[in-house]
Symmetry: D2
Subunit: 346 residues, 4 copies
């Protein structure tokens, strides 16, 4: 049994890690921290865990963290970068679910996250934890940057077209919609049920932190610069991301491209990417509580664009589930351990 | 007092017409029909109308309809086209909230609606009831085709850019999201709370009836052919449409275009179009129960597109409210009568 | 035109007062205060009011409040009691939507609200603003204590049985359910959409402040002590209260009591209480946005209890609408002014 | 591996059985029927099952059902009673998730379900599948009547008080609230999101089928007749039942009864009943997707009643999960197999 620590387990990605790991056969959760809830039982905050997690929250600065084989940071941005170095030196592997190690260009990172980076030297080492792209590197990584929720849904939906050189790279549109758990478990007027319920809106249309993350991954995959419009919207549901991608085929390419075959072939061996039958419209509920990403590419009868639809559960494949997938790879377990459950429907 | 009839008042546009007209000072609702509920009190079906509407449902084929000054058809597609001719001959004006008279090209209409048109000669006469575009013609119309819900939100959002010749017309993207009341009040598995609640999906991505309606209006406004990708999505809320539009400026134009000023000037005199302060993100709830359309144009810092956000209440400005606005124009009342209420928030 | 002030207009009862008063023909809203938002436009916080309320938030301690004919306190508990005295002396009438003047017994009030009362001498003068019980006294009042939301729904449902001496008074059960806007517009983890959505729970089962308020009103109406179990629950909807009352007939009484007739007769002249047809189940949505209370009494075929069902919109008849009803009475307007709109359905 | 059949798998209890059994290590789902969808892939209807259930719907009248070791009926009432006899004769065990075998008194059953019973002789044999009450009998049963959803939540909440003879048995009140999936997956206007969303109501207040089922179980447990008021309400959520029970202690008993200890002791060995810490308010979301029932008894400071709060997931402990629990007992597996997962929160 491997020893696992979770720093910052009072947010939604934290409780979701606990839910998934509670039934993992090869790990023990030995350490769950929360600065402001030291001593409180974890299941007093999250009663769904009664009978599964028999722990109290500990202080995040305890030395005991270095006894763990692997530590997850389910913290706000800017925390992991301060503690990771000491953990790695002690031989503890790290998966950061926040954004501290996602962006390779430190200047871009600082601009979007409004901080000076505390350990730029580790940014280069960190592996971007999208197994569908970096599986072998993740297996050997000490430090994994778990992808953002939107970037996961968008990137998986675009990779087949990007890598096949089939589309124009300077005019991609990602219209994305996220359930409100993506905004976290902080007290906040804007995410009250009375404010966000029975309503819908876009936000951060002029610029959002996930845009440079997506652009970086797609540019690396394409071998040239990718630019995209990225527009997030807030859905009045708890879990789920839906990405609607609009791309334009390169001239001369249209006749030849069989979208359905391209996607099915590209992801044929992936356990957590499911290409739906041709003509499908994936629903976010089809992946609720599951680590699956379901995708369907379309070529509409009007307009000039290919449209790709992609759904994930933002807390699972978009956060905690993908983190456990990465942990499985890093610790030598079967990649799907504790992650093969049908989604909850209805 | 003018006498008003409503054919097919058991659906959501019907009850919404009744809600709005209940407080209209210049009309009497004298006739409300429903084929399958003849004799039933209207307020037994819709208890919100108790004390306001003292009527029973009548047979839709009654001669009494011709006693009305104006009749609304809040029926499924294909009904109004069969009864309108007789009403117009009797001097009764008609507003069709369905799609029978929206598309000028009968072949396109037949293709999308799967029927032969019963009175193509009236299609040409019918005025498309978007007051912001056709106010004077509506005032003199006998027959008004009330616009679709999506087309209202999309068209109002694009008109300033279309008419200013500022954008490319062959690559417009309309990513639209609608509350579920747009699917009507029919028994249906797909729109059950258990099916559509806590979920989100696109539908009809390969082609939707509102695409040709939008293309027609924009092409007429532009004086040349407009093509667009139109992707509708289903929101797990009751009321509200949000349209996110992506357009590309014509080359050479970028430096000069002040989006905010363009929009504010374009709609300066419109009572039901509200351009929000620069940088805003309109919420659907800000127009819930109201006839207002709120719009905010953006030029994001990444990507190559102008993004325009637009919200309406699909049952009000997208259906019954706009129909009453048209009725006010056709019957010589102040255009805003019975329509000036703040939206319900929260 | 009468001059109206609203203290603490950034909460849900505040914006609801603004929504309703925006179309009131006999009042001008001249003063809207918010300690923490002085200078901000009201419609920047509440965009539904754009075009209706052309004011900025003022400081609540301004002398200008005394220029008003009537001031609403839409503040947390404990604020109105500090400012009311000065206003009354200046001839300004006051309606408190909080609980400062609801409980006549100062000791009980202090126990439940955890404060020392700042002006106990005004508590006796204050009239409990349930027009159906105290209409004439409200007309002549300088100070009205607007009833709580739960007490409004529960009291209106029980008054006919209480005043007819038909039921046992020591074993009444009020199982009540409220939409989450009743919890206010404060940043709070428990009322986030992610926490309260798709869930349901009871709260404050061991004791809730509205219990003594209900007991006081019913005891006064009965002329003897009434005791009840009061259990509130949190509904994952924005607006609406549903009260389910369980009462036991006095022995010997059963054969004679025609529930339906009793209720219809009792409320025959009330504009805002609607007794539904026998056998009905009122829905909260049938009163959404409206000042109506809809009630249906039942005598089930099993069990020993009479069951009464009652619904209101907690922000309207349960708060701002009832406050405007009281204002209309206090300022000599028709009681229903600005309050006669059908509920929003769906 | 045991062979399992599911008759009527297109409803919510059917898909939930499939979701749970998909990861059960000791059973193979060999047969899934649906009269109206013969030949359709199961995962085409329920995409959450893609990769887990590789079956098409079969005809429910096929002889192959008798090859199964156990068959679940997830059908409407009145179906199982026609097919059970033949299955039992062939040695196939049966669990009926509908109501055909729940009520021992055939006349009462016929009155509430409006049918003549097709096999009254099996009703007596059938074991009521509440493991907490009938564990040993279930182990040896050929035929189990799976309890109704409301009866499960209510009965588990009352059993400790009933069996301890602590309360009056003729004046129990069960105020219950259910998520809308309890209404099934049939096309129906009343359960549309537009109708049932953002609203709340009671239904069947004058009499509901689950009242006699609860009364029967409690009367058997008490050894004398129990009468109760049972009032169901419809929650605008998908999953979850909350029962609020009001009971009165027998005279002379009050001083002695330690509610918390009574409940904790009563259920100390039960894997699927969780007594929360004293003073708790169970939330339905704390059991979403889980087979747990969480209970908290209260003695409020006002009123004369003990109040017990109880929550389950209506589709799991209230239907499919409890059915699998029963299957585990009937087939000799560990009772908790495939059922030990933390609830999904948020």
């Amino acid at each position: 049994m491997k020893k696992i620590g979770i720093v910052g387990a009072t947010g939604y990605t934290g409780v979701e890690l606990l839910r998934i790991l509670a039934t993992h056969p090869h790990v023990d959760i030995s350490f769950v921290t929360s600065r402001s809830n030291v001593g409180m039982r974890v299941d007093a905050m999250f009663p769904n865990l009664r009978g599964f997690i028999d722990l109290c929250f500990s202080d995040p600065n305890s030395d005991e963290l270095t006894d763990c084989d692997l530590v997850f940071f389910a913290t706000p941005n800017g925390i992991a970068m301060k503690q990771t170095s000491a953990l790695l030196e002690a031989g503890t592997k790290v998966i950061d679910l926040a954004a501290d190690f996602r962006i390779k260009d430190i200047d871009i990172w600082s601009k979007w996250y409004g901080m000076t980076h505390a350990c730029p030297e580790l940014v280069e080492e960190a592996v971007y934890g999208l197994a569908e792209l970096n599986r072998e590197r993740i297996k050997n990584a000490r430090l994994v940057a778990n992808p953002g929720c939107y970037p996961t849904a968008v990137t998986l939906a675009l990779l087949p077209l990007i890598q096949s050189k089939a589309i124009q790279l300077d005019d991609i549109i990602a219209d994305t919609k996220s359930g409100i758990s993506g905004a976290g478990r902080q007290a906040n007027v804007g995410t009250l049920l009375s404010e966000a319920g029975e309503s819908f809106k876009a936000y951060a249309v002029d610029g959002h932190r996930h845009q440079p993350e997506i652009a970086q991954t797609l540019s690396l995959a394409a071998g040239e610069t990718v630019d995209l419009n990225f527009t997030p919207h807030l859905l009045p549901i708890i879990r789920g991301i839906h990405a609607t991608l609009y791309v334009k085929e390169r001239t001369g390419n249209e006749a030849d491209l069989n979208l359905q075959t391209l996607y099915e072939d590209f992801y044929v061996n992936e356990p957590f990417v499911d290409i739906l039958p041709k003509g499908s419209h994936p629903e976010t509920r089809s992946v609720k509580s599951s680590n699956m990403c379901r995708i369907s590419p379309h070529r509409p009868t009007t307009g000039s664009r290919i449209v790709v639809l992609s759904v994930i559960d933002n807390l699972v494949k978009g956060a905690a589930g993908q983190a456990v997938q990465n942990m499985n790879l890093m610790l030598g377990f079967d990649e799907t351990t504790a992650l093969m459950q049908p989604a909850l429907l209805p």
